[in-house]
Amino acid sequence: MLGRRSTFWLLSVPPLLWLLVFFAAPLLLMGAISLSGDVSGALFNLSNPTVDQYRIVLGEAGYLRLLGISVLMALGVGLIATALAFPIAYFLTFRAGRRAGFYLVLLLVPFWTSYLLRVMAWKLMLGSEGVVNSFLEWARVIQSPLEFLLYNRGTVVITLIYVWIPFAVLPIYAAMTRIDRPLLEAAADLGAGPWARFGRVTMPLALPGAIAAFFMVFIPTVGEYVTPLLVGGSSGSMYGNLVQDFFTKAANWPLGAALAIVMLVLTLVLVAVAVRLIDVRRFATL
């Protein structure tokens, strides 16, 4: 029979190895590549580490500006997606009753199709011969197609919000289902109206879920590159597109790796600062 110790190792070694080989090692490799001077010939020859790539990244105002814009976009997408997901989670928890499971499945149905397909659908919606323009022209609201709908930063934000809402619902929903119903009854018995009950009981108890939802959206959105590629046009590109460009278009892996590491560090710092400022535990114990 297996002892406690061997069971522990048996269960934790495979995932640990997996993380080591497919997460930690590539990350280290990327860090190493970012310290090499050139892609030609000596990509993995790291005998002469140099910080030249970082000097280039930090010296080019355009890159940092785009990083700033990407952070702001991610902030907007994170806040709006979380705000929109909140009522959905509330509905699922308190109003949907026995059908909650069914609605949850409905919410997740879009994930059965590919991400690419869902983003491309927005092109069909917003293009100059797309659904929105065709309808408005048919209804004689406009004479010629609205061109600002597609290929700009706004489109990227809208599409990303759409993509993230279902994800954002899940942690909020999980937090809300854990709320003890007797707490709400007690509040009502003590004379709290619906708004007071929401503001003093439901909201604070659901907040950790909302904060988790925000970060779940914010962190990957900072490095997003597929959505801007498809619907962003020339003016809607994000920082992630720079990274991708240096790997696939400019054949400059070291610079691409340095850009990626800079973004990683900045995101970690931002999240650390935010966690400090918000102090999640305060809400959890309220």
Partner: protein, 360 residues
């Protein structure tokens, strides 16, 4: 004999395992000893060219050989993969990117006497695959680059500067590529594209940064451009003639300009990775690539030219003739071949383009 200590045994066990794994890797699929009718081959190619139609002659001749494909997203991507140790036997770069492979010793020189179809390749194409007097690459597909425009939106285009025309604001689409942008600018200014100075590059960057406000999107795959032009969102674009022919067959009113600065022309070539264990099969694959059936499929399905002159001389379809400008005897005089990039140019031009895209 003294029994080895426990750590020593562990170490030797590990090293034996590692040695086994390494030897298994280096033998590779198929191995070098496989008879010519079997085995396997890996090709690093562009999306689309992995379809059997584009290596049909090989498939017919060697049905038992397993051909696997890796997909490269661009020349830079293919170069990045090959220089970081990709194990593909055959790869498919385009003019402009050939010198690097030779300089870094990534490509095997080719003994053309082993290729039965070699005599069907015109000398002008053969030269494109030669570097330093040696044949390193086999030319295969070729095409033009010019400005493609919607004739219902734009009357006529006679210069590359159409891509900078404010009258088409929001309806222009440039190819997402640094060297491509430098090529266009050097045509417009009449500069020698192989000798772009730092000042000229700075000016190119300024001009393309200003162009960004006019540009709807930078296309990276041809279907993306075709869709944009079909819906009428894009009126004028940097384009290969594949997009032109596709739109013609869809009945979209488009024309392919013959700019006064000249069209650009590119050639795709195949190279064999230096040290491949499947050298014999690689030769057979390249020979079959030059076959007539394969070449015909390139012409009829992608509207690109074939390096096989027999394929080109048998074209009768009017749309295709128009796409290749076959009946225009002067068209090659209006064409500039893409020169080979240097390492420094690739880096500087790539960075310039990324900065253009990152800028406001």
């Amino acid at each position: 004999m003294v029994r080895s200590s426990r750590p020593a045994r562990v170490v030797s066990a590990i090293s034996i395992t590692v040695a086994l794994i390494l030897s298994a890797c280096s033998a590779g699929p198929g191995g070098s000893t496989a008879p010519s009718g079997t085995g396997s081959l890996t090709v690093l190619d562009w999306a689309g060219y992995d379809a059997p139609d584009f290596w049909i002659d090989f498939q017919k001749a060697y049905p038992k050989v397993k051909v696997g494909f890796e997909i490269g997203a661009s020349d830079a991507d293919i170069y990045g993969k090959m220089s970081s140790g990709d194990q593909a036997d055959i790869f498919h770069p385009y003019t402009g990117w050939l010198q690097f492979y030779v300089d870094q010793g990534l490509v095997e020189p080719i003994d053309t006497s082993k290729l039965k179809n070699w005599s069907m390749v015109p000398d002008s194409f053969k030269k494109i695959g030669q570097i330093g007097g040696k044949q390193y690459f086999i030319p295969w597909d070729w095409g033009f680059t010019s400005i493609l425009y919607r004739t219902d939106k734009i009357k006529s285009v006679d210069s590359w500067s159409a891509l900078f025309n404010p009258a088409y604001k929001g309806h222009i689409s440039m190819w997402d590529d640094g060297p491509g942008a430098v090529t266009v600018s050097s045509y417009i200014h009449g500069w020698d594209e192989t000798k772009i100075t730092a000042d000229q590059l700075a000016q190119i960057k300024t001009e393309w940064t200003a162009q960004k406000a006019l540009n709807l999107f930078y296309w990276s795959g041809e279907p993306e451009l075709v869709q944009g032009m079909q819906t009428g969102d894009v009126w004028a674009a940097y384009a290969w003639q594949g997009a032109y022919a596709t739109l013609l067959t869809k009945g979209v009113p488009v024309a392919y300009a013959t700019p006064k600065e000249g069209r650009n022309s590119w050639v795709g070539v195949y190279g064999i990775r230096k040290g491949t264990p499947n050298l014999d099969l690689a030769y057979k694959f390249l020979d079959a690539k030059l076959g007539v059936a394969t070449g015909n499929n390139v012409v009829t399905q992608f509207y690109y030219g074939s390096a096989n002159s027999k394929v080109m001389s048998s074209i009768t379809d009017a749309t295709l003739k128009q796409a290749f400008s076959i009946d225009d005897p002067a068209i090659l005089q209006h064409t500039n071949f893409t020169p080979n990039l240097t390492d420094a140019q690739r880096k500087a031009w790539g960075a310039m383009w990324t900065e253009v895209k990152a800028g406001s």
